[in-house]
């Protein structure tokens, strides 16, 4: 963690920034695909739970990606 932001949130937002030029749904899929490829399950679970809690510190595309991850689980 850094400054109270869980690292998976920071990482998710950083990934989202790379896909910000794409349409939201397409970006979310790319983000979710990337997370599926390289993230440990506990990180994905934490992100899913964080997004589901209504957190406001997630990039919208990252939040959408978390939903996609949950749907695929």
């Amino acid at each position: 963690m850094s400054g109270g932001v869980p690292s998976y949130v920071r990482l998710a937002n950083e990934i989202a920034a790379q896909f910000a030029h794409r349409p939201p749904a397409e970006a979310a899929t790319a983000i979710a695909n990337h997370m599926n490829a390289v993230w440990d399950p506990r990180m994905k679970q934490a992100l899913i739970a964080h997004a589901a809690s209504g957190a406001t510190d997630l990039d919208p595309a990252a939040a959408l990606a978390a939903q996609q991850l949950q749907a695929r689980a």
């Binding site: 990934i15 599926n36 440990d40």
Partner: protein, 940 residues
């Protein structure tokens, strides 16, 4: 067979077909055009006497020992400087030539000490050999004082830690001077004076140590007498046997002859036929091997229950059963995923393979990562996405065919010196150089080298710059349309993206600080200058957009058709000797050996059948994730193989917290390193002189590492892994390292044809080695990319969140220095500390002046996560606002100030951009221990 005396052909080989036919002493021989008579004679089996000639240097023609007679040619020309002509008839031996040579030898010997029996070069002296070969029986002029004026009173320069310069034995053949020029490219040596006063000098009136000499050893190797001699040979005597092995330092992976007397290593001599180095070396590989026998080596296992207890030396059995028991206990208490391991790029492929197998088959998870996470993981990601293979595209030899060399975020003369020498040779021969780096590295301007363009960009703006270069290529009609159409995909989308005005040099100039016209000119040169090659280092990868930048470079290379042949390509300069290999071996938590994803059922099936156990289909934790999980509480035990993560990984506070939270930390290392301070088990490791296995260098070259002695610890490291696995209930056994490589070859398509036997036969192999390429693949993607079509990727520039602020107004970037290696665990335990006894902070004169800092002052370096103290060196190598340091010494602990920021795709730390403040500490601290780094929120 001893390799001590390698054949010396006198002059370098010439390329091309052997079309010139001649006879030498009646023996017919065919050679390529340009070949010297001396070399042709050697190829015909005829040794021509010589002193100033050796086959890694161009002919000089000064000693006159190699004179020959040639039909139809007047006089007795020197065979070294005479090129062969078709139909030539050459005689190398007759009475006339013999007399000429004896006369020459007489003159040499009249001014040379006759202490052969006690000379350090006795048995390895070409002057001595030539006296014998020429049949010298008397010296009519006498010797020494009786011969008149002489050089025998010249003093010996012992200033270099590793070799002496005994000037009285110099025959002024200039081999050392030419080696420094032609092989190393430093031009530190010269011949001072004229005529009889001619003598070798290292600069103007300074000692070797004070000179520009980089101690690569090329001069020592070139010297035909005892004039330049290793101190170890002076001290111990001539070696009597040789073992061919591979250097354990950087990713160049030089081949060396370890020369020994019995089991005592006397010297390391670069191997002329080494595929990576072709007979050259640097100060680390050539001389800095003393750490292997340093008294700090840990040779017995040690255990402790808690960090407050002292270490207890135990038997191997106890250490292994303790480790296995604790690992299983922790898994029982906290779950299968609560333990993991980190592999090392300083260990062999076989050792790495064993660790990742232990994790996957015995731990039952994929929590294995490698130290490449913190250096070149973006290379793996970026090149896989674009080319389909996580590796550099070329062999080192390729640079000889380059017309334009683009060096980005790499400092080859310090970090990869042997390859840098090769690169400099090519630049001096006419290739154009472009350097993209915030710091003015030596390559930008050094003797006979000057970069055509140095793009001195602001740290963190790599992607903006690479996009601007590509923008120029696309908008100025410089795309290789034929290559792109036939070899690539997704070009049109990328072309539209990159042509947008935000990527123009004019727009990027405002971000990067590089003038737009300079960007345009550099882009034009890269695209139109002929074969253009990219070489890059951690200045590319260790950024928040490291992976994006790698893809950006791949885009640029594809757009200009600079892929798939000699002289071009995209080439990562790997930091440690086995970075490529440790990645190849399945060290990443999401990939099995050969970069195949764990979700791939077919691949898992191969290992599940062979190993008899299921493999998880989800990625495990990466190193930073392990640290986070340890602090959060779900990760409890870590096995660290040969890495010092407490010193090398960023944000020391975070790393310390993570290591301190573990219930079990097992460290396998040569020394009680910084990480071991948090460990419960210390398993002594083997040095490269004891290892049996392979390293894979930056050009995918698999080289054998052969033991010159039995493990001083009693066990090979892979044996220890097998024993831990067995103690955890899994039957893991190999008879030898060769058997592990056989398993790697059996399960990994790119290694299919590799075996120790084949490596012994071929010398080295560059993977892929398979049915199509049984001898390996020096250059990749020649006809098609590994993934079929090369894929263009959109590379959006996203500025790093690490910005300079009022509180932290400077940007710190980190790097390496020639004499030290990584965290310094090895090189700090050698005489290399003579060159770099401490890390220093390079700071621009302007930034220093406004802070009242002068050269040598002690300064405080602080960032938002920590603070440390270093001595300042005033330097204008960096632009105003940027400072620089190295991370070789734990006392200064540069990573105390680096942050948790990382590459978005791979979590590779952003070492190269940290906002810092530098403050003068008025009185230097007398007590060194008081300089211990401090992390925010507490002192370690």
């Amino acid at each position: 067979m001893s390799l001590l005396k390698e054949p010396d052909f006198g002059t370098p080989a010439r390329a091309g077909a052997a079309t010139i036919e001649l006879t030498v002493d009646g023996v017919p021989v065919k050679v390529p055009p340009g070949t010297s008579v001396m070399r042709a004679a050697k190829e015909a089996g005829v040794d021509v006497p010589k002193l100033c000639a050796t086959d890694n240097l161009e002919a000089f023609g000064s000693c006159r020992l190699c004179v020959v007679e040639i039909d139809g040619v007047k006089g007795t020309p020197a065979s070294c400087t005479t090129p062969c002509r078709d139909g030539m008839v050459v005689r190398t031996q007759n009475e006339r030539l013999g007399k000429l040579r004896r006369d020459v030898m007489e003159l040499y010997i009249s001014d040379h000490p006759l202490d052969c029996l006690t000379c350090s070069a006795n048995g390895d002296c070409e002057l001595q050999d030539m006296a014998g070969v020429t049949g010298l029986r008397e010296v009519r002029y006498g010797s020494g004082v009786e011969a008149g004026a002489n050089h025998m009173d010249l003093p010996t320069d012992t200033s270099n830690p590793y070799f002496d310069f005994e000037a009285s034995k110099c025959i002024a053949c200039s081999r050392c001077v030419r080696a420094c020029d032609e092989v190393q490219g430093t031009l530190a040596l010269t011949i001072e004076g004229r005529g009889f006063d001619s003598k070798v000098a290292a600069g103007a009136g300074v000692s070797f140590f004070e000179s520009d000499c980089v101690s690569c050893g090329a001069c020592v190797q070139a010297c035909p007498t005892a004039t330049l001699q290793e101190k170890s040979v002076v001290e111990l005597g001539m070696p009597t046997r040789t073992v061919l092995t591979t250097c354990a330092y950087c990713g160049v992976g030089c081949s060396f002859k370890a020369e020994l007397r019995g089991d005592e290593l006397v010297r390391m001599v670069p191997y002329k036929n080494g595929g990576a180095n072709e007979g050259h070396s640097c100060v680390k590989g050539r001389f800095a091997f003393g750490y292997a026998s340093h008294p700090d080596r840990v040779l017995e296992p040690m255990v402790r229950n808690t960090l407050s207890e002292p270490w207890r030396k135990v038997s191997w059995d106890e250490a292994i059963s303790f480790t296995a028991r604790r690992l299983r206990e922790i898994q029982t208490a906290h779950g299968q995923g609560s333990i993991g391991a980190i592999t090392s790029s300083r260990t062999t492929n076989e050792e790495v393979y064993a660790v990742q197998k232990m994790v996957r088959a015995v731990f039952g998870n994929n929590n294995v990562d490698t130290c490449a996470r913190v250096c070149h993981s973006p290379t793996g990601y970026g090149l896989k996405q674009t080319f389909g293979e996580s590796a550099g595209t070329q062999d080192f030899r390729s640079v000889d065919s380059s017309d334009v060399i683009l060096v980005i975020g790499s400092n080859p003369t310090d970090a990869h010196p042997v390859f840098a020498s090769r690169m400099k040779q090519r630049i001096r021969a006419g290739a154009q150089l472009i350097v993209i780096d915030p710091r003015r590295i030596d390559l930008v301007r050094s003797p006979h080298i000057e970069a055509a363009y140095h793009l001195e960009l602001a740290p963190g703006t790599n992607v903006a710059i690479i996009n601007a270069l590509a923008h120029v290529v696309v908008t100025e009609g410089l795309v290789d349309r034929e290559f792109v159409a036939s070899r690539c995909e997704d070009f049109e989308t990328w072309e539209t993206f990159i042509a947008q005005p935000e990527h123009s040099p004019e727009a990027v100039s405002e971000i990067s600080g590089v003038p737009a016209e300079k960007i345009r000119q550099a882009a034009r040169l890269y695209a139109t200058g002929g074969n253009a090659a990219i070489y890059y280092g951690l200045g590319v990868t260790e950024h928040s957009q490291g992976s994006t930048m790698v893809m950006g470079m791949a885009n640029l290379a594809m757009a200009t058709g600079n892929i798939g042949r000699a002289g071009v390509g995209v080439n990562p300069m790997r930091g440690q000797n086995n970075v490529q290999g440790s990645c190849d071996m399945g060290s990443f938590p999401h990939e099995l050996p050969g970069y195949r994803h764990v979700s791939n059922e077919d691949v898992r099936d191969i290992y599940e059948k062979l190993w008899g156990t299921p493999i998880l289909n989800e990625p495990g934790l990466r190193i930073p994730n392990m640290f986070d999980a340890a602090i959060e509480g779900s990760f409890k035990a870590l096995f660290v193989q040969g890495e010092d993560i407490a010193q090398s990984d960023p944000n020391t506070q975070h790393v310390f917290a993570a290591l301190g939270a573990l219930e079990l930390l097992v460290v396998q290392d040569l020394f009680v390193n910084e990480t071991a301070k948090f460990a419960h088990v210390l398993l002594p490791g083997t040095s490269f002189l004891e290892k049996d296995g392979t390293f894979t260098n930056a050009e995918r070259r698999i080289n054998r590492v052969r033991p010159i002695m039995a493990p001083r610890t009693g066990k090979q490291e892979w044996e220890i892994i097998c024993e831990i696995a067995q103690a955890m209930g899994y039957p893991m056994h190999y008879d030898s390292a060769a058997q592990i490589m056989d398993e790697i070859a059996m399960t990994t398509p790119t290694f299919m044809g590799v075996s120790f036997g084949k490596l012994d036969e071929l010398g080295s192999i560059q993977w892929p080695c398979n049915v199509e390429h049984p001898a390996g693949t020096p250059i990749m993607h020649e006809d098609e990319f590994t993934r079929g079509k090369g894929r263009f990727m959109e590379t959006v520039y996203v500025p790093t969140s690490e910005r300079s602020t009022r509180k932290f107004p400077l940007i710190l970037t980190t790097g390496r220095i020639l004499s030290q290696y990584n965290v310094g665990a090895q090189t700090r335990r050698t005489a290399n500390v003579a060159w770099h006894a401490e890390d220093v902070l390079e700071i621009h004169p302007h930034d220093a002046e406004v802070r009242g800092i002068t050269d040598g002052d002690t300064v405080a370096l602080s960032s938002r996560v920590g603070r440390t103290e270093l001595r300042a060196t005033i330097s204008d190598r960096m632009p105003v606002g940027v400072c620089y340091t190295t991370f070789h010494h734990p006392v200064s602990g540069a990573n105390v100030v680096t942050t948790e920021n990382s590459d978005w795709a791979t979590n590779c730390p952003e070492y190269k951009v940290t906002a810092v403040q530098v403050d003068l500490i008025p009185e230097p601290l007398a007590d060194e221990s008081a300089r211990e780094p401090v992390v925010a929120g507490g002192n370690r």
